[in-house]
C-alpha cells in the first residue's frame, strides 16, 4: 500500500525464498567468491558469443534458484528481469527458453531492485505465489556495447568502474506465515530520474549519487523512520567516488546516517588489488551481492534489517555521443529477517 509520496509498504511481507547467483572468472578472484552458487572460469562460458554467455549466466542462476526451492517452471507465475544489452535481448531470450509469462524491465544497474520491488508488490497483493526476478550483466558484452572493443588499449581513468560479470535471481514467494528465518521484503521506494548535468561516462558514481541520495531521503521521509532503523544501508554500484559523494550529500541534508552502516556493493565485491578503478558496476553488481553475500550474512544474523538502494545510469552510447547529460535513477527495497 502507498505510504508517503513514492513508497510502498508490503504488509504481507513477501518472502525471498530462494536465490541463484552466478559469476565469471574475475568475480571468482573477488572478495565475495564464496557467496556465488556457480562461478565460470571462462568469460565465454562455452558459448560462441559474449551475448550468449550473458544469457547463459541468467539461465544457470535461474535453474539454481529453482533447484534450491525444489520448484519447476510450472509453479512460477511471472518473470520480471532485465539487463544492460540493447533491447535486453539476453534476458528476453532466456525467458523464451523458460516459457514464463515475462515482464522485461530496464533500469540500467537499478534493474535488480526495480524487479524486486515489482515482484514484491505483485506477490503482496496476491498477484502470484512465485515470481522470479533478477538482473544480469556480462563485462565483455557490456564493454562492447557501451565502451570500446574489449581488446582496445584505451586507458580507463580512476573514476571508471568495472562491469560485473554475473547474474543474481530471486524467487519471491507469498508469505504463508510459516516463514521464520527467511528474509522478507517490507517496503520499497521508487526513485525519480535525477540528472545534475554530469556528462563523463567514465564517472558514473558521481553522476548517480544525487539519485541515490534523493531516493534514500524520500524513503525515510515516506516511512517516517530514521537510518538507525537499519543495520545496513547499501547502495548498488556507486563505487568509491559515488559512495563518498552520496554520503556527503546525505550529511548535507542532515540525515543522521553513520559511516559504518553505509556500504556499496560495487566496493564489496572485489579486492582492493583488483584493477577495477573505482569499483564494480553493472546490473549484476547489486543483484549478485544482495542475493548472494548480503542474504547469507542476514541468515548468519549479521544484519536484521537492510535497505538496498540500487542505482542506475540511464545513458546509452548514443546519448553520450550527442553530449546528453547522464540521467540517473535509484530504487530502494527494505529487507528484514522474519523472526
Amino acid at each position: 500500500m502507498l505510504k508517503g509520496k513514492q513508497s510502498w509498504v508490503f504488509n504481507n511481507r513477501p518472502v525471498i525464498t530462494a536465490t541463484g547467483v552466478t559469476g565469471g572468472p574475475f568475480e571468482a578472484n573477488g572478495r565475495l567468491s564464496g557467496d556465488f552458487d556457480v562461478l565460470f572460469d571462462d568469460l565465454w562460458m562455452g558459448e560462441d558469443s559474449y551475448e550468449k554467455a550473458h544469457r547463459h549466466l541468467l539461465e544457470v542462476a535461474t535453474n539454481t534458484a529453482f533447484e534450491k526451492e525444489g520448484v519447476t517452471v510450472e509453479d512460477v507465475q511471472f518473470m520480471i528481469a532485465g539487463d544492460l544489452i540493447n533491447q535486453i535481448t539476453p534476458t528476453s531470450i532466456a525467458a523464451r527458453q523458460l516459457k514464463l509469462p515475462y515482464l522485461g524491465i530496464f533500469g540500467a544497474c537499478s534493474t535488480s531492485m526495480e524487479g524486486l520491488a515489482l515482484a514484491s508488490f505483485f506477490v503482496n497483493y496476491g498477484g502470484g505465489n512465485y515470481i522470479l526476478t533478477g538482473a544480469t550483466s556480462h563485462n565483455a558484452a557490456v564493454e562492447k556495447q557501451f565502451r570500446y572493443p574489449t581488446e582496445y588499449g584505451g586507458q580507463k581513468p580512476p573514476t571508471a568502474q568495472w562491469t560485473v560479470t554475473g547474474s543474481g535471481v530471486a524467487l519471491v514467494k507469498a508469505n504463508q506465515g510459516n516463514e521464520s528465518g527467511k528474509p522478507v521484503t517490507t517496503s520499497a521506494t521508487i526513485g525519480k530520474v535525477i540528472d545534475l548535468g554530469l556528462t563523463d561516462p567514465f564517472n558514473m558514481g558521481g553522476a548517480m549519487s544525487p539519485a541515490a541520495a534523493d531516493t534514500i531521503l524520500a524513503h525515510f521521509k515516506d516511512l517516517e523512520i530514521d537510518p538507525s532503523y537499519y543495520d545496513l544501508i547499501v547502495t548498488g554500484d556507486l563505487g568509491k567516488i559515488g559512495h563518498e559523494t552520496t554520503f556527503g550529500l546525505l550529511q548535507k541534508e542532515g540525515l543522521p546516517i553513520k559511516k559504518e552502516q553505509f556500504k556499496d556493493c560495487g566496493m564489496l565485491i572485489y579486492h582492493e588489488d583488483q584493477p577495477v578503478q573505482s569499483g564494480g558496476s553493472g546490473a549484476g553488481c547489486s543483484a549478485t551481492v544482495l542475493y548472494g553475500h548480503l542474504l547469507n550474512e542476514m541468515k548468519k544474523g549479521t544484519y536484521k534489517r537492510i535497505l538496498v538502494v540500487a542505482t542506475g545510469a540511464l545513458l546509452s552510447p548514443l546519448t553520450v555521443q550527442q553530449n546528453e547529460t547522464i540521467p540517473c535513477i535509484a530504487h530502494a527495497v527494505s529487507i528484514e529477517m522474519n523472526e
Binding site: S49, P149, E151, Y152, G153, G154, Q155, G197, G206, T245
Partner: protein, 157 residues
C-alpha cells in the same frame, strides 16, 4: 545535437561539490609512463628501420613503409594475445599514439565483431574507432596539399 542548456545553479553547485570526491587523474605519472612506453615503441621502430636498411635494399627514406607494416603486425599479435589492452591501461597515450595503437584500434574492432560475421561484423566495424583518423588525416592532407600546390602554381613559394 549537443544540447547545451544553460546550467542551473543547482547543477553548478553539485559539479563543484562532486569535484571534491573525484579521484584526480595522476597526471604526472601518466605522462611519465606515456613518455617511457611511447619512446620505447619508437625505439623499436628505429631498430626495425635499421634492420630493413641493413638486410634489404631499403634506404632511410623508403624503410618507413615496411617498418610501419611490421609494427602493425606486432600490434596484431599483442592485441590477439590480450596484451595490448593491458599495456594501454598502463601507458595511455604511450601505446595509443604510435602506429601500433592505430593497428590495435582496427584489429581489436575486427576481432570483437567477428561474432556478427565477417561481412557485417568485421567488415562493418573495422574502422569503428580508426575511421575518424583516416577521415581527418585524408581530408586535412587534401586541404593542405591543395593550398600548397596552388601557392606553388601561383609562384608564391
Amino acid at each position: 545535437m549537443g544540447n547545451k542548456k544553460p546550467e542551473s545553479k543547482e547543477v553548478e553547485q553539485y559539479k563543484q561539490f562532486e569535484k571534491n570526491f573525484e579521484t584526480k587523474r595522476p597526471l604526472f605519472k601518466n605522462c611519465l609512463k606515456a613518455f617511457l612506453v611511447g619512446g620505447f615503441i619508437c625505439m623499436i621502430g628505429q631498430a626495425i628501420t635499421y634492420f630493413y636498411i641493413y638486410f634489404f635494399s631499403f634506404t632511410e627514406q623508403t624503410a618507413g613503409n615496411p617498418t610501419v607494416a611490421t609494427m602493425v603486425f606486432i600490434s596484431m599479435l599483442l592485441t590477439g594475445f590480450g596484451v595490448y589492452d593491458r599495456l594501454g591501461q598502463f601507458a595511455g597515450a604511450g601505446s595509443a599514439v604510435p602506429v601500433t595503437g592505430f593497428g590495435n584500434a582496427v584489429i581489436s574492432a575486427a576481432i570483437e565483431h567477428r561474432t556478427e560475421g565477417f561481412v557485417l561484423g568485421v567488415g562493418g566495424n573495422l574502422f569503428k574507432l580508426a575511421g575518424s583518423v583516416v577521415l581527418f588525416g585524408v581530408f586535412s592532407a587534401f586541404v593542405v596539399a591543395l593550398i600548397k600546390t596552388i601557392l606553388i602554381k601561383l609562384g608564391a613559394i
